[in-house]
């Protein structure tokens, strides 16, 4: 079987009017302490469909997370437009849930309180919010841990709580910034399966940032490749036509997976090497 690799996912572009997230010529710049302007992301276009799981991959430090933060409304692009469900984004993206790479739970709240808070601040009565939070903790397999504080949970358990915290609000868009990055390899597999299982139940739009190509192909409908920074841009767009439901640990053994992996890696490798040599010369200059 030859994998149907298509560069530039045309299907998604045609659907632009109904896109969940649409970035048009988004450029993001930071002013460095010494006054110089650092351009992290240069004029990037990206359209993520309403039921699409899009992975964004690139070398470490290429600005993937920066692009995600622009979609979240946590960062304002220097130029370009961010459109969410057809409306221009101003301030925080209220339609989106965000799963962070680092621990983002409130350490002074129990697992249950952390999950319930998203509903409580939106005006849901406390008892009702807690009841739903209990259901969600059960769905991520933590029914017995609801009264624990985050420091009493393992890294994987904290990620499960964070996932429940995001999903309980029923956001139309889920943004994920290397969410399983800090976890060990086995826990990552289990979390990936859990994520796919929960996502397949109501297929929200997902922007999933990672630097792990296997993870990207195993999870996503589409893999977007970013170039090495600074001034990172989107250089590749691959459809992943692997069948669902998928078993993350099994799917890596399939031929189609390996073909996709080889093709995308061919593009990614150049960028990774470039990022690496830039880093080396920067260190040498210091």
């Amino acid at each position: 079987m030859t994998a149907g690799v298509t560069e530039g996912a045309l299907g998604a572009k045609a659907d632009a009017a109904h896109a969940a997230v649409r970035l048009d010529g988004v450029t993001i710049e930071f002013t460095l302490p010494e006054g110089r302007v650092f351009r992290a992301v240069a004029s990037s276009d990206l359209v993520v469909g309403p039921r699409e799981f899009a992975a964004i991959i690139g070398p470490t430090g290429c600005g993937k997370s920066t692009l995600l933060n622009a979609a979240a409304g946590l960062l304002r692009p220097a130029s370009g437009r961010v459109t969410v469900l057809g409306a221009p984004l101003a301030g925080i993206n209220r339609q989106a849930g965000y799963l962070f790479q680092q621990d983002a739970l409130m350490p002074w709240k129990t697992a249950l309180e952390n999950v319930a808070i998203g509903l409580e601040v939106a005006g849901t009565a406390r008892a009702e919010a807690r009841k739903k939070a209990r259901d969600w903790l059960a769905r991520v397999g933590l029914a017995a841990f609801s009264e624990r504080y985050p420091h009493m949970l393992s890294g994987g358990q904290r990620k499960r709580v964070a996932l429940a915290q995001v999903l309980i609000r029923d956001p139309k868009i889920i943004l994920m910034d290397e969410p399983f990055g800090p976890l060990d390899a086995q826990t990552r597999l289990i979390m990936g399966d859990l994520l796919l299982n929960l996502w397949s139940q109501d297929r929200k739009a997902v922007m999933f940032v990672t630097h792990d190509l296997e993870e990207a192909i195993a999870l996503a409908d589409r893999v977007v490749v970013m170039s090495a920074g600074p001034s990172a841009r989107i250089i590749g767009d691959f459809a992943i036509p692997l069948e669902r439901p998928r078993d993350i640990s099994e799917i890596k053994l399939e031929r189609a997976f390996q073909t996709l992996h080889r093709d995308i890696w061919h593009m990614l490798k150049k960028e990774v090497l470039k990022a690496y040599s830039d880093q080396q010369s920067e260190e040498a200059a210091q």
Binding site: A72, L74, I92, N93, R94, A96, G97, Y98, F100, Q102, D103, A104, L105, M106, P107, W108, K109, T110, I117, G118, V121, A122, Y149, P150, H151, M152, Q165, R169
Partner: protein
Amino acid sequence: MNRFGLIGLQVAVALVIIAFWQMASTTHVIGDPNTISFFFSTPIAVVTQIWRWFLDGSIWYHLWITLLEAMLAFVIGSAAAIVIGFWFARKAMLAAIFDPYVKAANALPRVVLAPIFTLWFGLGIWSKVALGVSLVFFIVFFNVYQGVREVNRTVLSNARMLGMNERQLLRHVYWPSALSWMFSSLHTSVGFAVVGAVVGEYLGAAAGLGYLIQQAEGVFDIGGVFAGMFVLAAFVLVIDWLVTLVERRLLVWRPEAGRQS
């Protein structure tokens, strides 16, 4: 070593010191016992003095006055520090303008303010409360300020993404973060509240532990000074223990506090 062994050794240290003190102040082994007992008193005299204070009950009034002053100093100082700490931390301009004045006020040895406070607030408890407030305020202020400024950025971004408005962020993120910083300095700030009260009393008062010590010192009653010091030490230990209880209750979510309990 087990717990009882440790306590045994701790008690042994006290016994050795007291035995040495008793020997030095009553026998000729070290030097003239009359001279030594004049400067250092004797354990028997100190215990007798403490016993007399508790027997006639006069000590309770002084303890109560010191406790009241320390509590008022702690509550008023902390409340003011929390409000101003929050305000400064959220308004960078305000903090920048007042920065040199805050630093200058904090650098000032607070004891020199005692006469001014006595002049302003009289010889009653309020001049001591003012001295305690001037000590407590800065400790709590710097901690609350730091706590609000150094809120974990990821937790803050997450709270924003969860849909919190400014008021909700204040309640669910800034406030607990600031409180945890404040509680981490609880032992210090409560300690300083007591210091303020006692030093204030020592410099001029009509009641309190500091007053007792100062009175004894005035008539060269070294036994009375030592007795006052021991009562004060016990008083501070009890307060410190109460603070530890409160801290364990309020900071269960913290890794360190959780491991201790």
